[in-house]
Symmetry: C2
């Protein structure tokens, strides 16, 4: 669409932990000025909308340390190093909810906060699902809620679900199901 | 809804620039283990959906350094220190597009990427708009596109707009206009 108008002169790692890496680049801005750019590198964020035969979905509730807020979201997690996002989606769905699914549909990517991070979100719809045993991360304390998918869509519309990745995921699942004429009303 | 199950033992600033601050906290996780949490503190992100009398909107195109991608988005920007998000919305809309608006409607908040940042997005609909002179940030090289609002909604549905804050903003504007029976078809 357009050539990158930024120039990177140098790049320095500031911080790294298991989940993110912060680097500071010396740059020339599109308008030709010298500047810095702090970029938070994050692993792919994967979101899954599970859908049962009678069109229930599963939400995950957890306390978000970053925001000091409780948040209801779709099952989400980060890809492991070198892991394909579909494999990550299967793993995260199983870990958080115990569910496995036979039918997976990719609903596209998104940028979570592109002014400072390279994090991309990847959205999957999981159908033909089966119950199993969940095995959440030891850092997480999750609650799982099974509700009609259309009720989750209402929670998005009324603003009760505030996590951007969850909002986009439920929107895309809704539009996909509507288009495929699979949505029960 | 639930007490914060995380405990913060100490907090250390790792990095700070004009746009973000990174801190690393020593924590006790919800499951009782010692750990660290790297939190990226960011200013409120403000998004504006401008709507003309005949229901055109304005998209802003720019090259996103973080992702190495060109991205079409709604007008967006960060709040200044101490600035109310509505004042920020008026300022950013004017800076990026030259537009001013007489009618402002707040369409709620969202969390852009709550596993590692406290960034919140704030969405505004701007109606009764007037053209003026734009004055973009010197770091930005923006293109402005005026298109029918319903076409922007289609760009969201087909996945061409990938910025999460823009997707959520256009979705909320669409639902608000539909509910208020203001949407021309």
């Amino acid at each position: 669409m357009m050539k990158n108008p930024w120039k990177t002169l140098s790049s320095k790692e500031i911080y790294k932990n298991q989940w993110l890496r912060l680097r500071e680049d010396q740059v020339i801005t599109p308008s030709g000025h010298n500047g810095i750019y702090g970029v938070v590198e994050a692993k792919p964020a994967i979101a899954i909308v599970p859908l049962s035969e009678n069109q229930d979905t599963y939400l995950v509730g957890q306390y978000r340390y970053t925001l000091d807020e409780y948040s209801w979201e779709v099952p989400e997690g980060g890809a492991l190093d070198g892991e394909h996002t579909l494999s990550g989606a299967k793993r995260e769905l199983k870990e958080e909810t115990g569910l496995t699914a036979r039918t997976w549909t990719y609903l596209g990517e998104l940028y979570t906060s592109n002014s400072f991070t390279n994090e991309r979100g990847y959205v999957y719809l999981a159908e033909d699902i089966f119950d199993g045993v969940s095995n959440p991360d030891s850092t997480e304390q999750l609650r799982i809620k099974k509700i009609p998918f259309l009720q989750a869509w209402q929670l998005v519309l009324e603003g009760s679900i505030k996590d951007a990745l969850s909002i986009v995921s439920i929107l895309r699942a809704y539009e996909y199901l509507k288009k495929s004429q699979k949505l029960n009303n």
